[in-house]
């Protein structure tokens, strides 16, 4: 089966005036099948947001993609398309939901008009039909009393409702893939639960493929089909969700699990990873996790580990798990 989305050798770099460039996303490859939910997990600055933006080619000014990068959507390589051709993909094939519902909506435009914009961008429809369609979408994402909310401005809505609006906007042109970048991070726990339930529901009813970008392993459990763990611009582990949670292979993944407070823990102390997340400008050589890794050997400091099988449905980029010893 050909995947819906295939990303190969994704390289994103910021050329600097000095000639050297920082490479926040370094040789990332993965696939997303139709209807699948893939989670991309990592801490701040690991490159997960840039990876998401690269899919519909919405990279910030100054960022460039490597020549070997391939982003194939249903067989079409998006890296070869012109800006106007890309527009037929944005929203229509690949839709996005962003982290901050407060700033992701235009403050001076009514929310209904912003959703309708997404419809008009891809279809010729009359204003009346578009409004009907917007009302249906508002109902679908669980907004109570849609006829009164359709003409509201963003500031009149709560954070949870704004995130629902953003989801309605993403669904407006019937996309195949939804890229959700930390869709619940800015929300309170009880509202987060509402939004996650909505996403689960939409995925079931619409057969939507989702790339869920998050730092929270908690929302990945029991929801994602597969998990990609990113650290310092690279994918360090990739596995089926159940396998990752029962048998994490990469020391970083294991460290993450040990860092999270759990409701069923018996001890008071957690086992943190030492040190702090490095910045793209000073990423270590070899395995980028080696300065913080308890298992690191001399080889790790100089050689980049490849992503290789570490178990059933599981890949990890670690020399030690791949059998190398001191």
């Amino acid at each position: 089966m050909t995947p819906l989305l295939e990303v190969a050798n994704l390289n994103i770099f910021f050329p600097q005036a000095s000639g050297e460039s920082t490479v926040p996303v370094d040789d990332v490859s993965f696939t997303v099948a139709a209807g699948e939910l893939v989670a991309l997990v990592g801490e701040s600055g690991c490159g997960k947001t840039l990876t998401g933006l690269a899919l519909p080619r919405l990279l910030p000014r100054g960022a460039e993609m490597g020549a070997r990068t391939v982003i194939r959507f249903r067989g079409t390589d998006l890296t070869s398309l012109s800006e106007s051709e890309l527009r037929t993909y944005r929203g229509r094939r690949i839709a996005m939901v962003f982290q901050d519902p407060m700033t992701s909506l235009n403050p001076v435009m009514r929310v209904g008009a912003q959703i309708a914009e997404a419809i008009h961008a891809h279809r010729k429809v009359s204003k009346r039909d578009a409004r009907e369609r917007v009302l249906a979408l508002l109902t679908e994402v669980g907004i109570a009393d849609p006829t009164s909310r359709i003409d509201a401005y963003p500031h009149q809505l709560s954070g949870g409702m704004r995130q629902r609006i953003l989801i309605a906007m993403a669904l407006a042109a019937e996309p195949d893939l939804l890229v959700a970048d930390e869709p619940t991070t800015a929300l309170d726990v009880t509202i987060q639960a509402q939004i996650l339930e909505l996403l689960d529901h939409l995925r079931a009813t619409r057969k939507l493929a989702v790339l869920l970008i998050t730092h929270d392993l908690g929302i990945v459990a029991g929801r994602a089909d597969r998990v990609l763990v990113m650290y310092a611009g690279r994918i360090v582990e990739s596995a089926k969700t159940a396998r990752l949670f029962s048998h994490p292979a990469h020391p970083y993944t294991r460290g993450l699990f040990a860092s999270i407070p759990r409701l069923d823990a018996d001890t008071t102390r957690l086992t943190p990873i030492g040190g702090s997340v490095p910045r793209p400008a000073d990423w270590p050589t070899g395995c980028r996790f080696h300065p913080r890794c308890g298992a690191a050997i001399a080889h790790c400091t100089t050689h980049r580990p490849p992503l290789e099988a570490a178990g059933p449905d599981q890949l990890a980029a670690c020399w030690v798990t791949q059998g190398m010893t001191k």
Binding site: V189, Q194, G218, V220, I260, L263, P272
Partner: protein
Amino acid sequence: MIPLLSVERLVKHYAQGGAFARRGAVVKAVEDVSFTIAAGETLGLVGESGSGKTTVGRAVLRLELPTEGIVRFEGTDLATLSPAELRTLRRRMQIVFQDPFASLNPRRTVGASVAEGLEIHKMLPKREIPERVAELLEEVGLDAAYAHKYPHEFSGGQRQRIGIARALAVEPSFIVCDEPVSALDVSVQAQVLNLLLDLRDARNLSYLFIAHDVALVRQIAHRVAVMYLGTIVEIGPARTVIDAPKHPYTQALVSAVPQPDPTKGTARIVLAGDPPSPSNPPSGCPFVTRCFHPMKDSRCAAQRPSLRLVAGRDVACHYAD
């Protein structure tokens, strides 16, 4: 025995707008909150944004004046103190902030920030201050040489350690930790959390640990108070409350915590709607608009439930059992 800190019927209302603003809406940030903290004890204060937990933390330190209520520290009513007496007492009660970027003065060296309390209270002769600052930095796990650097040269976790060192400098017995780890990366959160635990043990500190993450509070706190819309809805021993919550809101809050364990498919309680605005809270039980309790009735809408003892903790619900 006198508790280290006792808060009785604390109320904080804000007028919306400035000093000359017309009579506007009143934001009822905190409504009738009472609790005590013993020496060496950690009380976790959990709630979502707008629940009033940060306001409680600030009012306890008298960084904001309470509208009503009494805050006693070691038996002394803080309201009876003169400004100078209050400033002296501040040595004993400190605060650690959420935002590691804004909590340090960007124009002063780390050493100057840590030394500030020592200077204010003239705790040491001037020439001994650098040595003490170095000790403090090492106590929170930083290099003593960092004293000459500026905050922007540090990562979030390091800055949070500096903020803790600044609070420790005046040798307090009580610290308000206002979401001290929620702005940090997951892998760094645990480091700072462990540091706070170590300091608590080494210095017999008491914490008011404010957080939105129930799992985190369960990890560090002895007792927990759950806030909703300015009131405490449930308070008791941390593991008793969180492992078997009795208030419907606490139940929903605990069940909504995303847990990194796919095998534990517990029934999720998803609350409908948003919390009401604190400027216009419902009469009766504050949770009535989102409550799913099967026995919810007109009494809930009319009468505010007070805290009562249920299964080893206090719950503010007419029908909790």
